[in-house]
Amino acid sequence: MEAVFERPKTLTTVSTHYCPGCGHGIIHRLIAEVIDELGIREKTAVVAPVGCAVLLYNYFNLDSYEAAHGRAPAIATGCKRVLPELVVFTYQGDGDLAAIGTAEVVHAAARGEKITTIFVNNAIYGMTAGQMAPTTLIGQKTTTTPDGRAPERAGYPIRVCEMLATLEGAAYIARVSVSSPKNVMQAKKAIKKAFETQIKGLGYSLVEVLSQCPTNWHMTPTESIKWVDEKMAAYYPLGEFKTPKES
């Protein structure tokens, strides 16, 4: 028998610190598979966020920057402007991208920076143990919305893809999830398309991945992927919001 599915080469052999069932692991694996398949490992650099994925440079065999909270798109911009041939991507959570780093991602997209962002939306702040995120759903209980998020106190969740798709510089914007094998395969396609968008020099690309956080949602991994499908995808529809104009 031959191996038809193996651990991608772009992943190191370090076991991750992510919780069992966490979406980060699946997303890391998909990115590594895409980098392997495109053959770009030696010319790719990643900018790590502050969040659960702050240590992602231990898991990817890539030149890596560790960014300050929210600033990854600015660092990626600086790097890509110096080394335009390098494939540069940021990997950011919902606090990093949709709270403190909103200006940086909007302007990187508006400038059409030829970088790629993988945006992991788990509707909560994971690393700091479960506070509200800008993407937390109405009614969702977190440590800073103990009675469930109420719009009159805490406002409404932000739909990042829809927002960024209004920008001319944004070339490929898509939302996917990793809650089922079918969704995982779609997610991989979108991630590949995002990297190809960068390689072709078409502009800014972003893939928002709805991701499960079993620990801070207080669910089992199996319950959490159901919550992504039933609750998250209802507010954050999956799909491509912007696709590159060229053929």
Binding site: M1, E2, A3, V4, F5, E6, R7, P8, L11, T13, S15, T16, Y18, C19, P20, G21, C22, G23, H24, G25, I26, R29, A32, V178, S180, P181, V184, M185, P214, T220, P221, T222, I225
Partner: protein, 77 residues
Amino acid sequence: MGKIEIDEEFCKGCTLCIGVCPQKFIRIANHVSKKGYHPAEFCDSESKCTGCTLCALMCPDAAITVYREKKVGGEKK
């Protein structure tokens, strides 16, 4: 036909693979791995696994390697 190998160095026993296996050939092991988890283990006594890779697709720890027999012009090797 196919089979899988689950690497206990990486498996955290999250059970996502168990949830998607169409033939229920994966279960949580009784023993505790070096990492302190009850890992998933492959149990396919009649070798009926098709190597569909649904388990590996879901695995957040890239712990699963999937093998499949190569069919060469209809003949099974």
